[in-house]
């Protein structure tokens, strides 16, 4: 499994790829593998606000529902509408499949997130992977 070095990560298995004042958010390769076949994604609408550490939607596999937690606070600038009909794209490539684009309220929040190395260490400690 891979974790792009330019992304930042949360302990809830989301990633954020920052580009200036916006960031694309997705879930990690580890998350999609644990979930199994993803069949449903529930995302907010453009214009909604999101708050760091709070839920903004959910992703469902056949077996389970998992809440999605926002890595940062901000406003939803774009939503990946393709996931409505093709949620399984996340399984195919979790690292390039974005769920939301967020206009960051405070870019400094990203610094508090895990680096790729810290995230990998976190997973191996949590589960023995």
């Amino acid at each position: 499994m891979t974790y792009p070095a330019t992304y930042r990560y949360t302990k809830e298995h989301e990633w954020i790829q920052v580009d200036g004042s916006t960031g694309n958010v997705g879930i990690t390769d580890y998350a999609q593998d644990s979930l199994g076949d993803i069949v449903f994604v529930d995302l907010p609408k453009v214009g909604d606000t999101v708050e760091a550490g709070k839920t903004f939607g959910s992703v469902e596999s056949v077996k389970a529902v998992s809440d999605l937690f926002s890595p940062v606070s901000g406003t939803v600038a774009a939503v990946n509408e393709e996931l409505k009909d093709k949620p399984e794209t996340i399984n195919t490539d979790a690292n390039t499949t974005w769920l939301l684009k967020i206009a960051l309220a405070d870019a400094k929040q990203v610094d508090a997130l895990l680096t790729a190395a810290e995230y990998e260490k976190f997973i191996s400690e949590e589960t023995g992977h």
Partner: protein, 385 residues
């Protein structure tokens, strides 16, 4: 998102293991605690496993299930008292679906009863209720004459080979003519060089298939598992876990103990009255069932639901009428990989049970429309060969 940690290391309270546990772990199956057993939930991907069973063949390790045998001239009387279906109608080599009930007509467990010979019956029971069932059986038949009960649960590795190509797969491993075994009948034969293996045309998937009962030592179990996978390779066989086992039986409208049936649900509510032979004579729970009938039948019933609006109704989600009255809750609900719909079973008051009745499932605070559909959701069309 929060994910359940599924640690690969031993848990503090050791889980029970089937003889194939090391094989499942070596194959990197995702493991789960099912009723105290360390079982594979996902071997190759739930959807792939489900589709393999519907279109080709899949193999399941169901050794965690229990096996209780009754022997002696009093064994039929014992089975008749314990179980609601009429075992006197079974021929040698025949099995049927049945259930053990409490005196109030609710379920101890659902079972499959096999008539091995005139004085010899085998009942196969659920893994999650094994200890409870054995205690119950001892309690009910303890004083009955000329019957001996044996718990053979740990003696067998039980494999379920299921799917339209299951017969072709098993045919390669046995000299027994499988075409002579009708649905819900069984025989004994040589399988993978083992003698006197029980081969039953039973299963929990809604497909044609067989369950074989082999000795439970690890070496034999691993060898046979490997030979089944090799035999089924040309048909796309996959090792299947409990995840697919659940979605398959849900599509087929089959009950799962603790969900559609339990000690709080009676036979008529569950829609299983056709398996309760009230005319056969007395059995535990019969009086209660007759009272329920006399009082006009059950007040709630199990229905099938299909989500109409976007959303997945899952186990435990509440169900409301469209004008907001709480009707009940979903007993089992999930996306259906073959039917490509989101389906569920739920208990609702009988007046809301008519086909096409629209209801609302509450999914994380939102009411999402579903409608009542006929059970089973899926019925296979091919005939057994």
């Amino acid at each position: 998102m929060l994910l359940e940690a599924i640690p690969l290391s031993e848990l503090q309270a050791p889980l029970r293991k089937t003889a194939l546990n090391a094989v499942h772990r070596a194959a990197k199956s995702k493991m789960v605690d099912f009723g105290g057993w360390d079982m594979p939930v996902d071997c190759c991907g739930l959807v792939a496993e489900h589709m393999a069973v519907r279109t080709g063949v899949g193999v399941f390790d169901v050794s965690h299930m229990g096996d209780i045998q009754f022997r002696g001239p009093g064994s039929l009387a014992a089975v008749q008292k314990l179980c609601m279906n009429d075992a006197s109608k079974l021929a040698v080599g025949q099995a049927h679906y049945s259930a053990m009930l409490y005196p109030n007509g609710t379920f101890v467990d659902d079972v499959v009863v096999h008539k091995l010979s005139e004085n010899d019956y085998l009942i196969v029971i659920n893994a999650g209720t094994r200890e409870k069932d054995v205690q119950w059986v001892r309690q009910v038949i303890g004083g009955m004459p000329r019957v001996h009960m044996s718990d053979y649960s740990d003696h067998y590795t039980q494999l379920a080979i299921q799917g339209p190509r299951a017969a072709e797969t098993l045919r390669k491993l046995t000299s027994t003519d499988l075409s002579t075994i009708k649905n819900y009948w069984f025989t004994w034969g040589q399988v993978c060089g083992l003698h006197n293996v029980m081969i039953a045309r039973t299963g929990y998937t809604g497909e044609d298939g067989f369950e074989i009962y082999i000795p439970s030592d690890e070496a034999t179990s691993a060898r046979v598992w490997g030979e089944v996978l090799a035999a089924g390779a040309e048909f796309g066989i996959l090792a299947c876990g409990l995840g697919a086992r659940n979605t398959l039986r849900l599509e087929a409208g089959m009950a799962l103990y603790g969900h559609e049936i339990s000690d709080a649900i009676n036979v008529f509510e569950a829609g299983l009255g056709r398996y309760a032979k009230l005319d056969k004579g007395d059995f535990v729970g019969r009086d209660a069932l007759m009272e329920i009938q006399a009082a006009g039948g059950p007040k709630r019933k199990l229905v099938g639901l299909e989500m109409v609006e976007r959303g997945i109704g899952r186990d435990g989600y509440p169900v409301f009428s469209l004008d907001g009255k709480r009707l009940g809750k979903i007993t089992s609900g999930s996306p259906a990989p073959f039917l490509k719909k989101n389906i569920a079973m739920a208990y609702v008051p009988v007046e809301f049970g008519a086909l096409d009745t629209e209801v609302a499932v509450e999914i994380r605070g939102q009411r999402v429309k579903a409608r009542v559909v006929a059970l089973p959701f899926y019925k296979r069309t091919r005939k057994s060969t």
